[in-house]
């Protein structure tokens, strides 16, 4: 059977080669970077990071593959690593992965990652809480944030002259302007989930406890109560199909305001899909944000090279030129190292709509994972019934 399979493999590979599939030459080392998130993450590695890293390291080829936006993308990476762990593979096919918080937390818990931050120079440059803590899971040493992203309201000032400054104002505003606010529920992506988390934090009076703990299962009733007001709120709003769906409806002028990921928003602006007058705003008492992390799988085939790559990617010069200047993302490492690498004009562009102190004050982490689950299931029970 085995020989049969081998013969078949050879025949098929030969046929595949004949069909035009190029087999990479063996002399090179290929560094496999698998990234969750939008296509621009793949572009970032392929068009920007990859060529620079290859120039410094002859014989290395960087190959980036995307797994799709949102937690679904991170989950797919998790599943692939898990499959290799269960299969007992010794050299995993992913060298560097870029994942969301939830994915990283689970990967650390399931021993799918290798600690590396303390082994590289750039590891000392991180300062955010999220570099050590992901949704309550200790991830210290396993991650370096690639960039930080934030959920904010995007609004069209032509329609919304004075945007609501808080959730309470928003609740009144939607009654006067029905079907002008849109968000994507909880099943279509994290910008909608983040809005729901922010709503509960604002209306349950337990904002700090949601972020810092302790976890108390009896608080479910309090959470459900705050979700009841969200059910009423939903009568006046549009539910959009996914993170991109909210941006899509802003694009066609079907809604005037909605919660979006700031990084996605800027991509839509750059791709000519957003009216240029649309602005961002961060309401009180805040909306969640989260970083994308660089991680190294526990048995990455090229672990040493992977660490070198991340050290390079998280260096201040690259963060300044690539993350901030080219993509308008908030830097992953401490801001002071990045700011000193660039001109003020490009730096200030980051904060055109949301000033640094507002970001500091109202950019919140996501709740602890147990609360996260309680809120999502509460939403399904209370709001969707």
């Amino acid at each position: 059977m085995r020989t049969f399979r081998n013969t078949l493999s050879i025949a098929l590979v030969a046929a595949g080669a004949a069909a035009g599939y190029a087999i990479p030459s063996a002399a090179q080392v290929t560094l496999n970077v698998v990234t969750a998130g939008d296509q621009n993450m793949v572009d970032y590695v392929n068009q920007f990071l990859g060529p620079k890293f290859e120039a410094q390291n002859p014989g290395v080829k960087v190959r980036a593959v995307g797994t799709g936006p949102g937690d679904a993308g991170s989950q797919k990476i998790l599943e692939k690593l898990e499959a290799q762990q269960k299969a007992g593979s010794t050299a995993w096919d992913t060298d560097v992965a870029v994942v969301h918080q939830r994915g990283a937390a689970t990967m650390v818990k399931e021993n799918l990652l290798a600690p590396y931050r303390n082994e590289i120079a750039a590891g000392k440059l991180v300062s955010r809480d999220s570099a050590t803590n992901a949704l309550g899971q200790n991830v210290d040493g396993y991650v370096i944030p690639m960039f930080h992203s934030q959920i904010a309201f995007a609004y069209n000032p032509a329609v919304v002259k004075t945007p609501p400054k808080s959730y309470a104002e928003l609740a009144q505003w939607v009654q006067k302007n029905p079907k002008q606010f849109g968000y994507n529920g909880v099943k279509g992506g994290m910008s909608g989930v983040g809005f729901v988390m922010g709503w509960v934090a604002a209306n349950s009076g337990m904002g700090a406890q949601l972020e810092k703990g302790p976890y108390d299962p009896s608080k479910k009733a309090v959470i459900d109560k705050s979700l009841e007001s969200l059910r009423d709120f939903n009568k006046y709003v549009v539910l959009t199909p996914g993170n991109a769906g909210t941006l899509d409806m802003l694009n066609r002028g079907e809604i005037a305001m909605g919660p979006v990921w700031v990084d996605m928003f800027y991509t839509w602006v750059a791709d000519g899909k957003m009216p240029p007058n649309v602005k961002l705003e961060l309401p009180q008492p805040g909306l969640p944000g989260q970083p994308m992390y660089y991680v190294v799988p526990a048995k990455a085939a090229n672990a040493a090279l992977a660490k070198k790559f991340i050290d390079f990617a998280a260096s201040p010069a690259i963060q300044a030129e690539g993350i901030v200047k080219k993509f308008n993302w908030y830097p992953g490492i401490d801001a002071q190292y990045v700011k000193s690498q660039m001109d003020d004009k490009s730096w200030n562009k980051l904060f055109a709509d949301i000033p640094p102190d507002t970001l500091q004050q109202y950019g919140r982490p996501f709740p602890l994972s147990q609360y996260f689950t309680d809120i999502l299931e509460g939403y399904e029970r209370v709001v969707l019934k």
Binding site: R5, L8, S9, L12, V13, A15, G16, A19, G20, Y21, A22, N32, V34, G37, D38, Q39, N40, V42, D43, N46, Q47, G50, P51, R63, V65, G66, T67, G68, P69, A72, G73, K76, E79, K80, E82, A83, Q84, K86, A87, G88, S89, D93, T94, G242, N243, A244, G245, L247, D248, N251, R252, G253, E254, M264, T267, W268, D271, G272, K273, P275
Partner: protein, 272 residues
């Protein structure tokens, strides 16, 4: 009513119905083409304000490896068709002509891969493939695509053989043809149109598949639909539209090529 007026009315009705159908089919497709070339398009503009080829340049950027993955897609699809037909033809013949225990059950087993939401299943396939070192190989991807496309090939092949008139085979045998000769010169040619039609469907299934490809192929085998999936889910309409348009080319070429063999679209009695 005069006969001329009736004919005119009928022509008019026919034209209107055809135009409506054309709109229903090409309206959504027009969106695809527009987004493929739109550089700027937002409210309140009903059509793109600016057209260009920037995104085509991005898709075809030397490091984007779009062409390589398109070739991989086509190669995988061709191999999938070969593997699928190689096993589906005997299976289809057996299901059509020979007495088989639990025949219906066998037909239904082939339906399973289409019937189950397959995300949780692929996770397990990936695990098994890692164990037997099949992950990241073209063969692995082809086998997963084949298991997905087999229902079409087996059901259609079985139908094609069932519709071949047995008396023709008997006549050939009576004239002294060996069973093999009878099969290759009578049965197979008569069933060929159906088999070819099944090849089209299997090819299209394979060309558009992404979940299985991700779990058993990535990062060593990447195909075009992976790019399309990421772009489309993330709302990168330009990139998604361009990849979809690119995938149209092999689909339509394959259809045209195959239809040269297909005299009329004779697809009688599928699934009998």
């Amino acid at each position: 009513m005069r006969p001329g007026a009736a004919a005119l009315g009928e022509t008019l009705a026919r034209t209107v119905v055809l135009l409506l159908l054309a709109f229903a089919i090409f309206g959504p497709l027009a969106n695809l083409v527009l987004w493929g070339f739109a550089e700027r398009w937002y409210f309140p503009h009903k059509l793109p304000q600016e057209f260009g080829l920037t995104y085509w340049a991005r898709v075809f950027a030397p490091r984007g490896s779009a062409l390589a993955s398109l070739w991989t897609s086509v190669g995988v699809a061709c191999l999938t068709v070969l593997v699928t037909l190689a096993v589906a033809v005997p299976a289809g013949y057996a299901l059509a002509r020979l007495k088989l225990p639990v025949r219906t059950l066998i037909l239904l087993v082939f339906l399973l891969p289409q019937a189950v939401p397959n995300l949780p299943v692929y996770v397990n396939i990936a695990r098994v493939f890692y164990e037997i070192n099949l992950n990241g190989t073209i063969l692995g991807v082809v086998l997963v695509h084949a298991s997905h496309g087999l229902v079409l090939a087996v059901w259609i092949a079985s139908a094609a053989f069932a519709s071949v008139d047995i008396s023709l085979e008997e006549a050939a045998r009576n004239m002294g043809a060996s069973p093999w000769r009878c099969w290759t010169s009578v049965t197979l040619p008569l069933a060929l149109p159906g088999l070819i039609a099944s090849a089209i469907f299997v090819f299209l299934e394979s060309l558009d598949e992404f979940t299985g490809t991700y779990f058993v192929g990535v990062p060593d085998v990447t195909t075009m639909p992976l790019l399309m999936f990421n772009a489309s889910m993330g709302g990168n309409y330009q990139i998604a539209s361009i990849t979809a348009l690119l995938l149209l080319v092999p689909s339509i070429l394959f259809m045209l090529l195959v239809e040269r063999f297909l005299k009329a679209d004779v697809l009688a009695a599928i699934g009998r």
